[in-house]
């Protein structure tokens, strides 16, 4: 008889705790990221494109590192150089942990961006950066999981045609899971804070 009231009291408490755990599993995170975060990390399908010297490079080659994936082109007058400069700053500011990150730019201008042209372009921002090229179908397949869009613009400049394209940078964790999507105007210091948190808490 004396046990019954105790049992009644614990039953709802136990299940409230269970619900709390469910809620935490669905959306819990202890760090507020500066970009759009997936409720739960999702694996990025692997792709293989071509780097300088016609070297095949796969996304999975970078397992164990945090990858910043960006889709741009070398004739880009604004978003691409700004983003790559920002990622260069981030890489430098990461200090001793710089080896834990890798920047990859996939071209959205396969007509003009050969692997070697891309390599020359991205390494001007940081020698460790990698540029990847491929056919339109290969680039579309690589960008599909991210909803990447790009199309030739009607605007012509002295440098030739422009391309309207997605401008987000995607952070992929060492296990190959998509984690955060950053808009082009996210400050480098906020991205750095995010990466430092991930390295400290998940590596």
């Amino acid at each position: 008889m004396s046990n019954q009231p105790t049992g009644r009291w614990w039953t709802p408490v136990f299940f409230l705790l269970f619900l709390l755990a469910l809620l935490t599993a669905c959306g819990g995170q202890t760090h507020e990221f500066a970009g759009a975060v997936l409720e739960e990390p999702k694996p990025v399908p692997d792709f293989t494109l071509t780097a300088a010297g016609d070297t095949p490079v796969s996304l999975s080659d970078f397992r164990g590192e945090y990858v910043y994936l960006y889709f741009g082109y070398t004739f880009c007058p604004d978003a691409c150089p700004i983003t790559l400069s920002k990622l260069s700053t981030l890489h430098k500011d990461l200090g001793d942990d710089a080896d834990e990150m890798q920047v990859i730019m996939v071209t959205v201008d396969p007509e003009r961006d050969t692997p070697d042209v891309l390599a020359d372009y991205v390494t001007r921002f940081d020698p460790s950066f990698i540029g990847l090229a491929g056919s339109k179908a290969e680039i579309d397949a690589a960008g599909q999981p991210f909803g990447i869009y790009y199309q030739r613009s009607e605007t012509e400049t002295a440098g030739g045609y422009l391309i309207d394209h997605s401008t987000r940078t995607y952070l992929i964790d060492p296990a190959g899971n998509a984690r955060v999507a950053y808009s082009h105007d996210t400050p480098a210091e906020d991205m750095l804070t995010d990466l430092q948190w991930l390295i400290a808490n998940e590596s």
Partner: protein
């Protein structure tokens, strides 16, 4: 006997209260776990499934295409279909948008499609396979200034 009679109502109340707790918890758990998933696939009677491929992250504004994948009953990708798309806004008076695929590229079909207005849409995908089989599916789509969102949930 008197004491026992006094306890009876209490005991009965307790027994009906427990199933209510369980029911509430089960319903909440179901809602929570369902809310964590996001799918956009429908399967036809003949086993063909047409999947609207949603990006990992909510899409950026500016996309002018939809990506579609077709799977046969064995789960293999179908790459020889011709797709006809029709987009209708859910309110009357709007001109529908039509599009047609130019064939699969890799394991999916990228179909140029322009969402001409923000609002709620119904996207109808008609697929005609190389062997003559046909399938048709509809997807509820919400188009906002921020992007295009598939509202299908399983």
């Amino acid at each position: 006997m008197v004491a026992a009679s006094k306890h009876l109502p209490t005991s009965t109340t307790r027994r009906t209260g427990r199933p209510l707790w369980w029911l509430l918890i089960l319903v909440l758990a179901l809602v929570l776990t369902t809310g964590c998933r996001r799918e956009s696939r429908q399967t036809s009677d003949d086993g063909l499934s047409i999947e609207l491929m949603t990006p990992l992250f909510d899409p950026e504004a500016g996309r002018n295409f939809v990506d579609i994948r077709i799977l046969d009953p064995a789960g293999s990708l179908v790459s020889d279909a011709t797709l006809h798309l029709r987009g209708d806004m859910t309110h009357a008076g709007m001109v529908p948008v039509f599009a047609e695929s130019a064939g699969a590229q890799g394991d999916f079909y990228r179909v140029p499609f322009e969402w001409t207005m923000t609002g709620d849409w119904v996207l109808t995908v008609d697929a005609e396979l190389g062997d003559g089989r046909q399938a048709s599916r509809q997807f509820d789509i919400s188009v906002t200034e921020d992007g295009v969102y598939c509202m299908e949930n399983e």
